[in-house]
């Protein structure tokens, strides 16, 4: 298991190098001139050129790339032109906000989709099965920002049940002391139930939006995978040996059906990282998605590069986690490694 992990980490290095190169080139190829943007609309040609020189943008691409890589090796992702803040610091501050939201969204959707898929598969043609089908079709056909806006309209504007969609905490509360950066966890550590509830209230609608977005693929994969496992020989053996229905469905069938579901979860998680960008906009969420979008609009290279690199590392880490889970569940995978 340990050597398998090491192998996977080493195998991920070339793709990370690729990501560094491609993001560098892509940001350079984007339309828009950061020097012009930075200098402002009233700036003269000379002023713009001067700024270009101070930013090092007048140098050949290869030199720029060299500087970028050297900085990167020191953990320096550069400075944002618009805010003047170091990008690494900004990402470190904003990543927990995005991660908390995305994970909660994933948990919400798993909590609904997995039982739904299992029940649909154990009773094909039943009401639950039809519900599952409707949910999966509706889930894919709703654009994520639309779901978000509808939820805000209904639960904040019409019903007034939810707080204003303005970030992670209502203005009356102050953020809990940072330990993990997750407000839910940090407020529990600080034994501050009021802040916990306030943070949860802010989280519910955006997490639900992401949850609805990812419900469909998880439910569909759970159902399909369960159906095929339920008709397999060993489930028939388990039934014939009179094991309790719960044991047959959960211990025997679902554990086997989990492997493709985990793969789907990994895929869904990366979709969610993308969907985050929109949801963060709708809910004024101070995460890395909204940070990247603003930087992109301003042709601000460093934050965009930092964002893409962070995503790539997250993605590699996620795939490692999936490999580990696979190995834990399926002894045959462990053996291959």
């Amino acid at each position: 298991m340990g050597s398998m992990l090491l192998k996977r980490v080493l195998a991920a290095i070339p793709s990370l190098i690729g990501v560094v190169i491609v993001t560098f080139l892509l940001t350079r190829a984007l339309p828009g001139d950061p020097a012009a943007y930075f200098a402002g609309p009233a700036a003269t040609k000379e002023a713009i050129e001067q700024i270009r020189a101070t930013l090092g943008l007048d140098q050949p691409l290869i030199i720029q790339f060299f500087h970028y890589v050297v900085d990167l090796a020191h953990g320096d992702l550069g400075k944002s032109l618009t805010t003047g803040q170091p990008v690494a610091e900004e990402i470190r501050a904003r990543l927990p906000a995005s991660a908390e939201l995305t994970l909660l969204g994933l948990i919400v959707s798993m909590a609904i989709a997995i039982p739904l898929g299992i029940m649909a598969a154990t009773k094909p043609g039943s009401i639950i099965d039809h519900t599952c089908r409707i949910v999966t079709t509706a889930g894919v056909s709703l654009p994520v920002f639309f779901t978000g806006l509808i939820l805000v309209y209904v639960f904040y504007y019409l019903l007034g049940w939810a707080p204003a969609p303005l970030g992670r905490l209502d203005v009356f509360y102050s953020a809990p002391p940072t330990v993990t950066g997750f407000y839910l966890i940090d407020s529990l550590i600080a034994r501050d139930p009021e802040t916990f509830v306030a943070a949860l209230k802010q989280l519910i609608l955006p997490a639900l939006t992401l949850g609805i977005f990812s419900l469909a693929p998880i439910a569909r994969m759970t159902r399909a995978s369960m159906l095929s496992v339920l008709s397999s020989d060993f489930v028939r053996t388990a039934r014939a040996s009179g094991l309790a229905p719960y044991t047959v469905i959960v211990t025997y069938a679902f554990r086997n059906a989990m492997l493709p579901v985990i793969t789907t979860l990994g895929m869904v998680f990366s979709f969610l990282l993308g969907a985050n960008v929109l949801v963060e906009k709708v809910f004024a969420w101070p995460g890395i998605g909204s940070f990247a979008v603003e930087a992109l609009i301003a042709s601000d290279f460093a934050p965009v590069q930092g964002f893409v690199l962070t995503m790539a590392i997250l993605y590699v880490a996620l795939n490692l986690l999936i490999d580990v889970l696979y190995g834990l569940i399926d002894p045959r995978v462990r053996l291959e490694a």
Partner: protein, 322 residues
């Protein structure tokens, strides 16, 4: 005739609803197996042997439906029992082993755990005792180094060893009836004999009745006291083994016996029986499903098959028997 039946099946009929029509998989199947005795169900592929077993065990596909009949295990009719009543006998009073042992075991659970699961459900053991009891059972089915093997996964074992594990699972609760559905298909010839001997010994030890399902008439003759020959969802003939071989009465049985020259041949390899099973989805299935292949067909074969009383020691479903 069977005096003290462990299981008595009467007039069992099963249908499958499929997209391409209703498959009349079993029609009026009757047989009995005596306590501690072995009955062989013999027939070509598709004749309904497995469906019979699944109907008795209550593990038919959702598309399948029992449309009539009884299966009496003592005073309990398995076909009309409540899920609760079935739950009390399945795996405990009647157990089953399958062909392809390697896929019939849970691929991601150690085999010892799989045996322990059954023990915990049916035998009077605690969580703590179960693993040791599972190892004992592995030893009883002839697995060497059972303590180490208990931790192994099916993919780490040979087919013969997996079938031994299946037998350990089936016999964990010392059932009074075992259904063995082609237990040696897919195993090599030496292992086949060893597995059949093992089943025979363990059955004798606990006085268990066995329904032995096979393609192989010669193998059935070696192992079973009675033989029921199935064809296209009918039991066409049922008799004691010697009687069946000495005086086959159904034309199909006679063809089978004539076509079984030595012990190695199985029915599927024999091309000498003309024709094939009728399509069981047909609306105009003749009352005798063999009549279209039968050299002894009479005009009277178009009326419903004769039904012999189950007390009869040698029953045959034919208007013009030998």
């Amino acid at each position: 005739m069977i005096v003290a039946p462990a299981l008595q099946v009467e007039h069992l009929s099963v249908e499958f609803r499929t997209r391409s029509g209703i498959v009349k998989a079993l029609d009026n199947v009757s047989f009995a197996v005596g306590k501690g005795e072995t009955l062989a169900l013999v027939g070509e592929s598709g004749s309904g042997k497995s469906v019979t077993a699944y109907a008795i065990m209550g593990i038919l596909d959702p598309a399948g439906r029992v449309t009539g009949g009884k299966a009496m295990l003592g005073a309990l009719d398995l076909l009309h029992a409540t899920p609760d009543e079935i739950g009390k006998v399945r795996g405990r009073e009647i157990a089953m082993i399958f062909q392809n042992p390697r896929t019939a075991l849970n691929p991601i659970r150690p085999v010892g755990r799989q045996i322990a699961d059954v023990l915990l459900r049916h035998a009077d053991v605690t969580r703590r005792e179960a693993p040791a009891r599972a190892i004992e059972l592995l030893r009883a089915v002839g697995i060497t180094d059972p303590a180490r093997r208990a931790k192994a996964y099916p993919f780490e074992m040979s087919g013969g060893m997996c079938q031994r594990v299946m037998i350990a699972i089936a016999l964990a609760a010392k059932p009074s009836l075992l259904i063995a559905d082609e237990p040696t298909t897919g195993l090599d010839v030496t292992t086949q004999a060893v597995i059949m001997d093992l089943i025979g010994e363990l059955a004798a030890e606990i006085g268990m009745a066995t329904i032995f399902i096979t393609h192989d008439l010669a193998l059935a003759a070696q192992r079973a006291k009675h033989i029921a020959v199935m064809h296209a969802g009918h039991v066409v003939e049922l008799a004691e083994t010697q009687e069946m071989f000495a005086h086959p009465r159904h034309p199909y049985t006679a063809e089978l016996i004539a076509a079984t020259p030595d012990t190695a041949a199985s029915l599927d390899q024999l091309a000498s029986i003309p024709g094939s099973l009728p399509d069981l989805r047909r609306a105009d299935l003749p009352p005798c499903r063999y009549s279209e292949r039968c050299p002894r067909k009479l005009a009277s074969c178009d009326q419903p098959l004769p039904v012999m009383p189950p007390e009869n020691p040698h029953t045959v479903a034919c208007w013009n028997p030998l």
